[in-house]
């Protein structure tokens, strides 16, 4: 094969750098039974430097999955349970007066860590959500007169429960947009559920081992950025995003009244980045349309605003995305 040098080299590099992916997947699968899509999505978010919002009914191992990922990557980890009485200072930190030194000293909050698990993010009031989301975007926190950089890698994994909406503070669209992926977790298969029962009855919970370091993740992220994306794939991504904004231009007139607002340019960037990360996970140095389609639902589902008509017709953003993917020609 007379392959061009760049791609050949890139493929070689990716094969070397992505060797940890298999290890990481094996360790995750030790603890998390089934949920293959969840594990892949967590890895995609981790490698593409994007924050993740996990949504699923209680008891689907959302928190356990994130806990396990933090254990596997030998990184600092904080879990913050979001409650209605939580304050921004509980999250970011504050200035405390030291009587001994007769000055204000900085008390950093739990956000100063590599992995943050924001459990049930929609249970905290808007000011706390806003403080977290600002830190997610800026990757820095200002306390008093000083601005402190957050450690690298910095990844926020938030969970929310689609039921029990009473007493919750749903995330505004602008803030949800800051999450690169919104992963929806479904129930396990029958055989997987049997295995879960066996683990629990035997009280023999397997434990994940530390297999990679944060530096490996930072290095892998640089390689992910180098994954080749052809112009045809870029056009495909743009077509998908534009179809959410102007569905009538893509033969989807029926969605014109159903979509109140389409995906933002941040969605295009996220789709491209997540596709590259997915190609990396599949140990490829280039993106193919399969990669785009594999991550499309997770990237787009929280970025499409549904109109009243859509809700009245029980139309979901999932169905809109599927229809768009089935309508746009693959390059």
């Amino acid at each position: 094969m007379n392959q061009t040098v760049d791609i050949k080299e890139l493929n070689e590099r990716i094969k070397q750098e992505s060797s940890f992916v298999d290890l990481l997947t094996i360790e995750m699968n030790k603890v998390i039974v089934g949920q293959k899509h969840l594990v892949e999505s967590l890895l995609t978010g981790l490698l593409s430097d994007g924050h993740i919002l996990l949504e699923g009914v209680p008891g689907l191992a959302k928190t356990l999955a994130i806990n396990t990922l933090a254990t596997i990557v030998d990184a600092k980890f904080s879990r913050i349970q979001f409650t209605p009485d939580l304050l921004p200072a509980d999250l970011l930190g504050t200035m405390i007066y030291s009587q001994k030194n007769e000055e204000f000293v900085v008390k950093k909050g739990p956000i100063f860590t590599n992995f943050v698990l924001a459990d049930e993010i929609n249970r905290a009031p808007a000011k706390v959500q806003s403080a977290l989301l600002e830190a997610m975007q800026e990757r820095q926190v200002t306390l008093g007169d000083h601005t402190y950089k957050l450690p690298e890698p910095f990844l926020v994994m938030a969970t929310q429960n689609p039921i029990e909406q009473e007493g919750t503070y749903p995330l505004p669209e602008a803030q949800v947009d800051r999450f690169m992926l919104k992963v929806v977790i479904s129930y396990p298969e029958k055989t997987e559920e049997q295995q879960i029962i066996r683990h629990n009855l035997a009280q023999s919970f397997p434990k994940a081992s530390k297999v990679i370091s944060p530096d490996d993740i930072i290095r892998a992220r640089k390689v992910v950025k180098d994954v080749y994306m052809d112009e045809k794939i870029e056009k495909y991504i743009v077509d998908i995003v534009f179809a959410t904004r102007f569905p009538e231009n893509y033969g989807l007139e029926k969605f014109r009244e159903m979509i109140s607002y389409g995906a933002s340019p941040r969605a295009s960037i996220s789709l491209a980045m997540a596709s590259k990360a997915y190609a990396f996970i599949k140990r490829r140095g280039y993106v193919i349309p399969e990669d785009v389609r594999a991550v499309c639902h997770d990237v787009m589902r929280h970025r499409i605003g549904l109109s009243y008509e859509a809700e009245a017709n029980n139309l979901t953003s999932e169905e809109i995305i599927s229809e768009i993917l089935n309508t746009i020609e693959v390059p």
Binding site: M1, T4, Y228, K232, P289, E329, V330
Partner: protein
């Protein structure tokens, strides 16, 4: 003496008799000129039931008699449901009878009294009044009185009357026409939905569609002639090659190949039984090499390009749909065969 006494008495009575007739006659004449009456269909009515109260006045044709004006009740207990328009009938040339009917009802049981109803008219400068007889209406309650001590019962459900088809028979012509129209409209709608054609194109004769393999082979010939990969346009060559194949698959096997990735196309084609198992590998080779060339800057060798094109031709030729012989063609072929056989026999 007795005779003379009688004569005296007659003479004395005559003026008194004339005076008496003079006083009584105008009243008698006026009473005969206008007469009013009121009548009910029956004197007994079930509570909530309806019946008609008919008012009639017989009068000279040129006299104006004012009918009583009712609003919505006759009396406190008798309500008017509907006031029908008046009717006029000529009796003997110069006399007419004006009648008017009212549909009445009552929701109070008991004996109700309909008072006399007055009709007024002007006679000269005198206002006169003609009055009907008073009437009685007995309203009875046939329902059992509710006794709460017996318990509470639900409302009775409506009576389910049987559907009698014979009732519709008299309309059979109209019904047949109605169903025929419905059937025609339904057929037109189904046809429009299936063909997805605008109404204006229904009666335009459609050109026979080219078979998928003819189109695909023509496109492959074009790609071959253009010598794209030979001139360095490898990406364009593979894009056109895969597009031609995907269009062929879409037409031939009816799945959305143009909107599917290579992996999805392979999954879809594996569900279809192809005549040769090698064809799966050949299609996979084409799509795989095409993905590398299109998305990974891969430059395949000359042999690989040739192989991709040859595999594409092979795939189309092996999977093409054989044209089915029509009944007419089959009959013609059979006749020709028979003719050939008879010729050969006569030759012998």
């Amino acid at each position: 003496m007795a005779v003379s006494n009688t004569m005296i008495n007659t003479k004395m009575l005559r003026p008194a008799l004339i005076l008496l007739i003079g006083l009584w006659l105008p009243g008698l004449l006026s009473a005969q000129s206008v007469s009013a009456s009121a009548s009910l269909d029956s004197t007994l009515m079930v509570i909530g039931g309806q019946m008609q109260l008919k008012l009639e006045v017989v009068q000279p044709a040129d006299l104006k008699v004012a009918f009583p004006q009712f609003t919505d009740t006759i009396t406190e207990n008798i309500e008017i449901v509907e006031a029908h328009p008046g009717d006029t009938a000529v009796i003997d040339g110069d006399r007419i009878a004006i009648s008017r009917a009212y549909t009445i009802t009552s929701f109070d049981s008991g004996l109700h009294y309909l008072p006399p109803i007055h009709f007024e008219y002007m006679e000269g400068e005198m206002m006169r009044r003609e009055t009907t007889r008073s009437l009685a209406l007995m309203v009875v309650n046939p329902f059992e009185e509710v006794d709460p001590e017996k318990g509470i019962f639900d409302l009775k459900s409506p009576y389910d009357l049987p559907f009698i088809f014979a009732e519709l028979l008299k309309y059979h012509k109209w019904l047949a026409l109605f169903f025929l129209l419905q059937a025609i409209i339904a057929l037109v709608i189904i046809y429009l939905q299936r063909t997805k054609k605008p109404l204006s194109q229904i009666f335009v004769k459609e050109k026979p569609k080219e078979p998928a393999h003819i189109v695909a082979l023509r496109e492959l010939d074009k790609i071959k002639k253009e010598k794209l990969w030979q001139s360095g346009q490898i990406k364009t060559f593979y894009s056109q090659l895969t597009d031609a194949l995907r269009r062929y698959l879409e037409e031939r096997y009816h799945f959305q190949a143009m909107e599917q990735t290579s992996g999805e196309i392979m999954s879809s084609i594996k569900r279809i039984e192809l005549p040769n198992k090698k064809l799966y590998d050949q299609l996979h080779q084409i799509l795989d090499t095409a993905d590398l060339a299109k998305f990974a800057k891969y430059e395949p060798l000359t042999d690989e390009n040739d192989l991709a094109l040859i595999n594409a031709y092979f795939f189309v030729n092996q999977t093409k749909e054989e044209p089915q012989e029509t009944a007419e063609e089959a009959a013609k072929a059979s006749l020709a065969k028979e003719a050939a056989e008879s010729n050969s026999q006569s030759g012998h």
